[in-house]
């Protein structure tokens, strides 16, 4: 009896953890649905770098060039000291939208860093090497704070790369980390001031720290009370004795059994998902066999990426 109660409560604890997981997943997805309503906006200029007319002009350009190239072209800016590092900032933004073909330019004014990521078709066409080329064209304008001109360059170059099949990157498996990284970074960013230190963000969490529900005091109190209630409830229910016989108590073993059986293989289905990346010290993102840089968002979306310091 005591063993029974023990194993029951163990099950209940497991059940409580399953519940916790469900709650976490729900809360994660509810955070993200807010921005889906403004679906035609392409420029989120939270740092306030553009005048109203510049903004309207660029919105128009994003949509025109984007339609022509078959992707959505986004520009994000912010000056937020609490925000996550640039790579994750774009990833989190992307995760709020339905899967699609998009390219993002982010200017993190607070950190003084720029970042580009390509998703879907844009991952293939606007790969890290082309991102570096886009940055090269933008740097002079950006340093002169001529943001309107810099963004125009970004929009037109992104659209034109979508039509350029000369050297595209079909391999989206960015698992080779350190060897490629050191080598390519050295060659690409020989001029020290521009080099973007990917490593510096490896230890940072992708999302701002928030208390996990698992460790939430109130949740634990409620879970404990529920478990207590269920265990005592079963004890009370069983206090009047319970059914202890089963079919086996009455079966006539000599005259019972299987008289027909068939186990027939029909088919096999294989599905695959990306290994969820952890916030560990091995770093996120990396390089594929071709030396292209990229990463995977929390939502499991793979992307090309490139960044620089301004």
């Amino acid at each position: 009896m005591i063993n029974l109660i023990k194993s029951k409560s163990l099950l209940l604890i497991l059940f409580a953890f399953a519940l916790i997981n469900v709650v976490i997943i729900n809360s994660a997805s509810s955070n993200t649905s807010a921005s889906e309503t403004e679906n035609n906006q392409r420029i989120y200029d939270k740092a306030g770098l553009l005048s109203t007319s510049e903004y309207e002009d660029l919105e128009q350009l994003c949509i025109e060039y984007g339609e022509d190239a078959g992707i959505d072209i986004y520009i994000l800016t912010h000056n937020d000291s609490d925000s996550v590092y640039p790579e994750a900032y774009i990833e989190n933004f992307e995760d709020t939208l339905p899967v699609g073909d998009r390219v993002y330019f982010l200017y993190d004014k607070y950190r003084g860093e720029i970042f580009i990521e390509g998703y879907g078709l844009a991952e293939t066409y606007i790969h890290s090497k082309r991102i570096d080329l886009i940055f090269d064209q933008m740097m002079t304008d950006l340093r002169a704070k001529a943001f309107y001109d810099a963004f125009k360059t970004y929009i037109s170059l992104s659209a034109s790369y979508m039509k350029d099949d000369f050297e595209i990157n079909e391999d989206h498996d960015y698992s080779y980390s350190s060897e490629y990284q050191s080598e390519t970074e050295k060659s690409n960013y020989s001029n020290g001031s521009e080099s973007y230190d990917y490593d510096s963000y490896y230890d940072e969490p992708r999302t701002p720290k928030e208390e996990s529900i698992l460790t939430n005091l109130w949740f634990q109190i409620i879970a404990s009370l529920v478990i207590g209630a269920i265990v005592v409830g079963t004890m009370a229910y069983n206090s009047g004795g319970k059914m202890t016989v089963q079919g086996n108590n009455y079966i006539d073993p000599g005259h019972s059994g299987l008289i027909g059986r068939r186990d027939q293989y029909i088919r096999t289905r294989v599905t695959r998902v990306r290994k969820p990346t952890q916030n560990n010290n091995s770093g996120r993102g990396g390089f594929n066999a071709g030396g292209f840089r990229g990463g995977v968002s929390l939502g499991g979306r793979s992307h090309s990426s490139g960044g620089r310091k301004l």
């Binding site: 409560s9 604890i13 498996d173 698992s175 996990s212 698992l214 460790t215 634990q220 109190i221 879970a223 404990s224 009370l225 478990i227 207590g228 209630a229 265990v231 005592v232 004890m235 009370a236 206090s239 009047g240 004795g241 319970k242 059914m243 202890t244 016989v245 089963q246 079919g247 108590n249 009455y250 079966i251 006539d252 005259h255 019972s256 059994g257 299987l258 008289i259 027909g260 059986r261 068939r262 186990d263 027939q264 293989y265 029909i266 088919r267 096999t268 289905r269 294989v270 599905t271 695959r272 998902v273 990306r274 290994k275 995977v296």
Partner: protein
């Protein structure tokens, strides 16, 4: 007919002794082997078809059954009523002292209220009402009382003063009418099952799902599943009394009832068959499920189960009924007269429920906190 077992030696009343399984005289110690008392067996084997009380009784029982189960607002037809009155009007007198025996229509054995002699009403145990088998009591009244007190003390949620078990109003040894069914269950099922295998290659997690068509056909025989045939007994309580051990199952003989209360069945085997089929249906289902193993998921798309009655024996099984007075309310408990298993709802103490609830909740909470601290250390 009232049958009364008088000691041939000293003339005192004899009663069934659960310890020896013999008919015993308390005054002089004489014992008689019941299985050898062939002369007492009713009805005599190969007996003539008689127009007797028992047939009337059976009809009365069936009439009562229809009334209760199918339409209790139905008016009594004069015919039913006549049968019933005739039946109830039958007065039985104690052969020992001549006093009127207090019986109702179901009573087949009782004890005389005045002299205490155990008597058996043989006319209600013959013809179609003759039990085929019986499991005699192996636990006597004193042992039953002791076991009950022990059980009260074990209750985790029962009030302290209930645990004293000092207000047992009465303990009655009762032979409850059961049908022991032999049934055949055939089942056929089709299911789609899967075997899931996951493995990791590079940055990808692969899930490989293999689908199988699974077919099973079973032929199962179940022996002597009891089903209580008394209207006044709570079905679920009687089910919980199981199991009975059939190594002590005897051919019925009236002296087994001497000194106990016994009743005849209210429902015949056909009336109870649906209840039995439902029970065996789940047995067959479970059996089929148990033959399918080695799969990750099993989902049935066809299950055909057919249950057939092969035999049903009218059997009397021993039950101690304990009536317990607690705070102006009667609580009834039943004890398996062979194994001592006790069932019945004891009163519950709010205080003790609260104590257990708090204990378990705080314990769980402490475990969660410790886990949090261990995990928290790893995460941050």
């Amino acid at each position: 007919m009232v049958v009364h077992y008088k000691c041939p030696n000293c003339g005192a009343d004899m009663a069934f002794d659960s310890e020896t399984g013999l008919l015993r005289c308390d005054s002089c110690g004489r014992t008689d082997n019941i299985e050898k008392m062939a002369g007492e067996k009713q009805p005599p084997s190969g007996g003539t078809v008689t127009y007797d009380m028992s047939e009337e009784d059976k009809r009365a029982a069936e009439a009562a059954f229809e009334k209760d189960y199918e339409d209790d607002k139905d008016e009594d037809t004069p015919a039913h009523h006549a049968t019933f009155t005739g039946n109830e009007a039958t007065e039985y007198h104690c052969k020992n002292c001549g006093a009127v025996l207090i019986t109702d229509t179901q009573t087949t054995a009782t004890t005389c209220n005045f002299c205490g002699a155990g008597v058996v009403l043989s006319d209600r145990l013959s013809g179609s009402l003759a039990p085929v088998k019986v499991i005699p009591f192996t636990i006597n009244k004193a042992q039953a009382q002791e076991a009950f007190i022990k059980w009260c003390k074990k209750g985790r949620l029962t009030p302290k003063d209930f645990m004293n078990a000092d207000r047992i109003k009465n303990i009655t040894g009762l032979y409850v009418p059961f049908w022991l069914y032999d049934l055949n269950g055939r089942g056929e099922a089709e299911a789609t099952c899967t075997r899931v295998h996951t493995y990791t290659r590079g940055d990808w997690i692969y899930t490989e799902t293999k689908y199988y068509y699974v077919y099973r056909k079973v032929d199962l025989n179940y022996l002597r599943i009891p089903c209580d045939a008394s209207k006044k007994m709570d079905d679920s309580m009687m089910d919980k009394l199981e199991p009975y051990h059939y190594d002590n199952l005897k051919d019925f003989n009236m002296p087994y009832l001497a000194g106990y209360i016994a009743e005849k069945y209210d429902y015949d085997d056909q009336k109870l068959l649906p209840r039995m089929k439902e029970r065996v249906n789940s047995y067959v289902e479970n059996y089929i499920r148990s033959t399918i193993s080695g799969y990750t998921t099993v989902s049935f798309h066809r299950k055909d189960i057919n249950i057939r009655q092969k035999r049903a024996d009218y059997t009397l099984l021993p039950v101690w009924m304990v009536c317990y007075d607690y705070k102006q309310a009667e609580h009834n408990f039943a004890m398996n007269g062979q194994t001592g298993k006790i069932v019945g709802k004891p009163p519950l103490s709010a205080k003790r429920i609260a104590a257990w609830f708090l204990g378990i909740s705080t314990g769980t909470f402490a475990i969660l906190r410790i886990l949090t601290m261990l995990l928290g250390g790893g995460l941050s």
